[in-house]
């Protein structure tokens, strides 16, 4: 049954997912070539100096891409479900309602991760050509909050769409916007290192919001 739900989500999203994947990789490659140009045009020590003392991150323009992808994927996945209240089809399937919605969220998060992973690999492998091994750790610490912001934005979009009460929707939007702002603060390499677990927990907690919305839908607490 889980595979069947993943199959449904794949058929629904595959075209958009491929476009996202291509856009993410293309953007990452553009940033990589830009780094290569800078590294070739300057001495390596200049690049290192900019990296260590000025906090220059060649992949910083990528910061908002996970967020945009997360919102887009949430809309593309759940808009067809809420149009004509089609989500009733899923809720009527012979499996637990919470499980059904949770599987949808799992499918969305998986597709989001798979759409962003190749771009992260481009940064990691590309950066390794000019930067030392420690740089990989910096990349992880800087990139992870952005990726978590993408996951949070996806969950918030899902919650807003599954919710049918406007007051709840506005509340979720404000909550998500305020919280996700934290994920995208101007970071210097290890700024977020210590709070990464807290950010991850926050995103994990966000999973409950769309589940709660779908539960309210299910119980008819929507009017």
């Amino acid at each position: 049954m889980s595979r069947a739900l993943f199959y449904k989500e794949w058929i629904k999203l595959r075209l958009w997912w491929v476009l996202m994947l291509a856009a993410g990789v293309a953007f990452a490659l553009v940033l990589f070539f830009k780094l290569r140009y800078v590294a070739n045009a300057n001495e390596a020590v200049t690049v290192w100096n900019a990296w260590i003392f000025k906090g220059w991150l060649f992949f910083r323009p990528f910061q908002y891409v996970p967020l945009v992808f997360g919102v887009a994927l949430g809309l593309l996945q759940f808009l067809p479900e809420v149009q004509a209240r089609r989500v009733r089809l899923v809720l009527h399937l012979p499996l637990g309602e919470t499980r059904a919605i949770a599987l949808h969220l799992a499918a969305g998060l998986l597709l989001l991760a798979l759409a962003l992973l190749p771009a992260a690999l481009v940064f990691s492998l590309g950066g390794a050509l000019w930067f030392p091994r420690e740089w990989q750790g910096n990349l992880f610490h800087v990139l992870t909050p952005w990726l978590l912001a993408g996951a949070g934005a996806y969950l918030a979009a899902a919650a807003v769409l599954l919710e049918t009460n406007w007051r709840h929707r506005v509340f979720y939007l404000l909550l998500a916007a305020g919280a996700l702002r934290l994920f995208l603060l101007e970071t210097f390499y290890d700024t977020c290192a210590r709070i990464l677990p807290a950010l991850a927990l926050w995103v994990l907690a966000l999973v409950l919001v769309p589940l709660f919305s779908s539960h309210r839908f299910r119980k008819g607490l929507v009017r």
């Binding site: 629904k12 067809p80 839908f217």
Partner: protein, 295 residues
């Protein structure tokens, strides 16, 4: 035998507006029941409660013996549900959607589905979103029948269908239920389609059960008599006795569970002369309109 559906004292309000008021009825196994009513009578509210998309203010529904809000997955697998407007996933083609649903139902019979699909003028790769309303209705119907459910709920199956597809829909349901093992609840505003289909009839009026009867007894017992309109004729309605007097311009009508002598006696008791009283044939739709009114 345990009822397939049992509504017990359902009451629900939207704000202060009552939608259902102490509604109770049941569907016995192997029967086809028409849940009828004017717009806003409470049919959809009942269907939403049955499918647990709405929690009633009081009362409860049992489906196949289980509370409709706490159905076990294996019980859900025994219930087919056609959503109003034949809602399905438009991004699938007919093979993909069959592949998807087949994984959820242990008694899945693809032959039923593909037999229906073979009658449609569609290509195997055509997405459901690009099909006509009638074609989509057949896809939705085929998917439900392929589940081999014990109970099917059709919510306004006729919505948006042309007469051909409506007839086809009814014929398919009729054939499917012919073995007497399936229980079906359906709602529709096209009453004449249900004339020879339903076994039982529950009619709602303003959130209450106006009538709950075998369709045969309704057709055989409920009569319409007409008589010349005179100044003595006044419109009247007695919901408790299901008796209606309609004043017409030239001829008026008396509707009710009355044979001819009883009809004459009823009119005489009301001081209405009806020397030319004569019975008229009445369809299920006539009966429905007589009972629920035109306005």
């Amino acid at each position: 035998m345990l009822p397939v559906i049992e509504c017990r004292h359902l009451t629900h309000y939207y704000g202060d507006k009552p939608a259902l008021l102490d509604v109770s009825w049941l569907l016995r196994p192997g029967r086809i029941c028409g849940l009828l009513g004017r717009n806003g009578a409470g049919k959809t509210t009942t269907i939403n409660i049955l499918n647990s998309f709405l929690t009633p203010r009081s009362g409860r529904c049992l489906l196949l013996g289980e509370d409709s809000h706490q159905l076990a997955p294996r019980t859900k697998a025994r219930i087919g549900y056609l959503i109003e407007g034949h809602i399905q996933y438009g991004f699938f083609n007919i093979n993909q959607i069959e592949h998807f649903y087949s994984r959820f139902y242990p008694n899945w019979t693809p032959a039923i589905y593909y037999h229906l699909m073979s009658k449609l003028d569609i290509t195997p790769r055509q997405r459901i979103a690009t099909m006509s309303c009638g074609q989509r209705s057949q896809v939705a119907l085929g998917l439900i029948l392929a589940q081999n459910p014990d109970l099917i709920i059709f919510d306004d199956y006729s919505m948006g269908l042309d007469p051909g597809y409506r007839r086809l829909f009814i014929e398919v349901i009729h054939d499917y239920a012919a073995d007497g093992k399936r229980s079906i609840l359906l709602t529709s505003h096209i009453i004449q389609d249900l004339e020879n289909l339903i076994d039982d009839c529950v009619i709602y009026q303003q959130g209450r059960v106006l009538l709950d009867l075998e369709a045969r007894r309704l057709r055989d017992g409920f009569r319409k008599y007409t008589f010349a309109t005179t100044p003595a004729v006044a419109g009247a309605r007695d919901d408790a006795r299901h008796l209606v007097i309609e004043r017409g311009e030239k001829r008026s009508a008396l509707h009710g569970f009355l044979d001819e002598p009883a009809a004459r006696a009823e009119l005489a008791a009301r001081g209405i002369p009806a020397p030319d009283l004569r019975p008229e044939p009445a369809t299920l739709e006539d009966i429905f309109i007589a009972l629920t009114g035109k306005y």
